[in-house]
């Protein structure tokens, strides 16, 4: 089993469509979708993000980070929600993404979540940990 993040994005077409859809229906469709993933034991967590206008951007271009409240780039590049799921394969994660109750103008990005094993084992911090652990073991052995 591998963790995947399904990242929801939407452009202005989706935003326009949501404006005309009954809120109750949207909530119910999403609720049923979430429930089906819960019933299948694959849903770990998920949340929607509030409007981008309430957010901020921390930009690392200069020497000190610059905080602005935008611009964020194109609307369709913005995340507006996510699901964390755990499935056996990438195809299974994609299959779940395909079942989301979404229409034109919505996009779901399927991304694998890194595990400890994804980090390079020859990295100095990883090695430091291993060395520290060995030291502890030796000390325990002597003590």
């Amino acid at each position: 089993m591998t963790k995947y993040m399904l990242i929801m994005r939407a452009d202005e077409r989706a935003a326009a469509a949501y404006a005309t859809m009954p809120f109750e229906e949207v909530i119910a469709a999403m609720g049923r979708y979430n429930e089906s993933m819960m019933n299948a034991g694959v849903l770990l967590t998920g949340d929607g993000l509030s409007d981008a206008s309430e957010g901020a951007v921390v930009d690392f271009e200069g020497e000190t980070p610059l905080v602005t409240d935008g611009p964020y780039g194109e609307l369709r590049e913005l995340f507006n929600g996510f699901w964390m799921i755990e499935t056996a394969t990438k195809e299974e994660a994609i299959e779940w993404a395909k079942r989301a109750p979404l229409t034109t103008g919505n996009f779901i990005e399927v991304r694998r979540v890194n595990g400890v094993e994804d980090f390079p084992q020859d990295n100095e911090w990883i090695q430091k940990q291993a060395g520290w652990r060995e030291e502890q073991e030796q000390r325990a052995a002597q003590g």
Binding site: R32, A40, G41, E86, A88, E95, F107, V116, R133
Partner: protein, 449 residues
């Protein structure tokens, strides 16, 4: 990504003179079919069982439909509602089979007629009632974990019909040959047929016992994955995580059952430590040496939430929590502690007391003794623990286990009795069935020279 209209993806062409490309397309379609199967198989088998009244037949029909999908979807593309497609094809196969075998008596004719009426065109809208289907999946869980079956058969059948794993996957996870798994499944289905096991959720008065069996099967699958009893690998986390997924499925089906939540809590809190339990070479890292930064904090949060629900439900029913929730409570104490030293060992000893009262076992006593050795104060510490372990040494149930000598070795080492500790570690290594575990015990023995 699917296109905006939600229509199925365009089929990948597999004809033409590019064997490599067509093989790739075929492999990709195969993976897509397998993904759909994992998501849908329990519901499909459950639906079919209700329709044809025979669990074994339903399972075979579903497998046949899967074979059709593997043959057709690479060319035709994955249908819009793959679950309904598979169910429809399986039902059609049932009708065809009956007609061919001319076992066309009145009752079967009736069923066949009903099926024809129900059978939608493969492209038709979803004819399922999700609430009813979930209830049928629950029946399927109870059938797969039925007490007339051996433990091995229950495990294989649960993974196959509820988990949607293939025979090959199950064989790989348990390190047994494929024919062995096939045989277990065939025999299990035979046994269910012979015993006339009905496809139903047990009556209220026996529900508790039967649910206990189901929880036991899931926990068995989980523990086999996290401390593999045999073989080269110390852990097979895939197996444990599949068990955790199935436990989450179960909890969705019986949300009012405290112990189901307790089991999920125990599995989440145990699985949270998986990233820290092996080093880069695959050797076990013991609790005291684990880098707690590697523990999965979100799994811990989910586990604690599940434990909270288990406690609330048990309290609401005027009962104490069960053994899974108690074990989860012990795992929670470890999860919230910053280090071994800062762990509330006395709370752990107290929880083991409750566990021993509820489900007495020498392993529980042994673990309690280890907790006693870690706590400080009057009546605690390694000396007190050694007395407890010595009292267990004569227990026949632990005679062939490496657990007693291993624990004695640890305690003797902490008391500075190196020669005795070494002998105990060597004895434990000789008894250990798992290669990785044996290596760790031998290393401990060597460190006392």
């Amino acid at each position: 990504m699917t296109d905006a209209s939600g229509s199925p993806p365009a089929p990948e062409r597999v004809d033409g003179g590019e064997p490599e490309a067509s093989a790739r397309a075929e492999a990709s379609a195969r993976r897509a079919v397998e993904a759909v199967w994992r998501i849908e198989s329990a519901r499909i088998v459950a639906t079919l069982t209700r329709a044809v009244g025979d669990f074994a037949l339903a399972e075979d029909l579903a497998q046949d439909a899967l074979a059709d999908a593997l043959a057709q979807w690479p060319q035709a593309g994955v249908p819009k509602n793959p679950g309904a497609w598979l169910t429809a094809v399986a039902k059609r196969k049932a009708i065809d089979g009956w007609r061919r075998r001319e076992r066309y008596d009145e009752r079967l004719a009736e069923i066949a007629h009903d099926l024809s009426q129900q059978t939608p065109d493969a492209s038709a809208a979803d004819p399922w009632d999700p609430d009813r289907i979930d209830d049928e999946v629950l029946r399927l869980v109870f059938v797969a974990c039925h007490p007339v079956l051996s433990r091995e058969a229950r495990v294989a059948l649960t993974l196959r019909v509820v988990g949607g794993l293939t025979t090959e996957e199950i064989a790989r996870l348990f390190l047994v040959p494929v024919p062995t798994v096939q045989q277990r499944i065939v025999r299990a289905k035979q046994a269910l047929g012979d015993a006339g096991v009905p496809f139903e959720v047990p009556a209220r008065d026996e529900f508790g016992d039967r649910l206990g069996t189901v929880l036991g099967v899931l926990y068995l699958i989980f523990t086999e994955g996290h401390t593999a009893t045999t073989g080269e690998d110390w852990m097979r986390p895939e197996l444990s995580l599949e068990a955790l997924r199935l436990a989450r499925v179960l909890v969705a089906l019986v949300p009012r059952e405290a112990e189901a939540h307790g089991l999920v809590a125990l599995m989440e809190l145990t699985a949270a430590r998986f990233p820290a339990r092996v080093d880069s070479s695959g050797s076990p890292v013991l609790l005291a040496d684990q880098d707690r930064c590697r523990w999965d904090r979100s799994a811990i949060a989910r586990g604690r939430a599940a434990l909270g629900r288990a406690r609330a439900l048990a309290t609401g029913a005027g009962r104490g929590v069960g053994s899974y929730a108690l074990q989860a409570a012990i795992a929670e104490q470890h999860a919230v502690a910053a280090s071994v030293e800062e762990t509330d060992w006395r709370a752990i000893v107290a929880t083991y007391d409750a566990l021993a009262a509820l489900a007495p076992s020498p392993v529980v006593e042994l673990n309690r003794a280890v907790a006693v050795s870690m706590a400080s104060g009057e009546g605690f510490g390694p000396e007190a623990a050694l007395d407890l372990v010595d009292a267990l040494a004569g227990d026949k149930r632990l005679a062939l286990s490496h657990l007693v000598p291993s624990a004695r070795g640890e305690l003797l080492a902490r008391l500075g009795r190196d020669a005795e500790a070494r002998a105990e570690f060597e004895r434990a290594a000789a008894l250990a069935q798992n290669a990785r575990e044996r290596a760790v015990l031998l290393a401990k023995a060597a460190a006392r020279r």
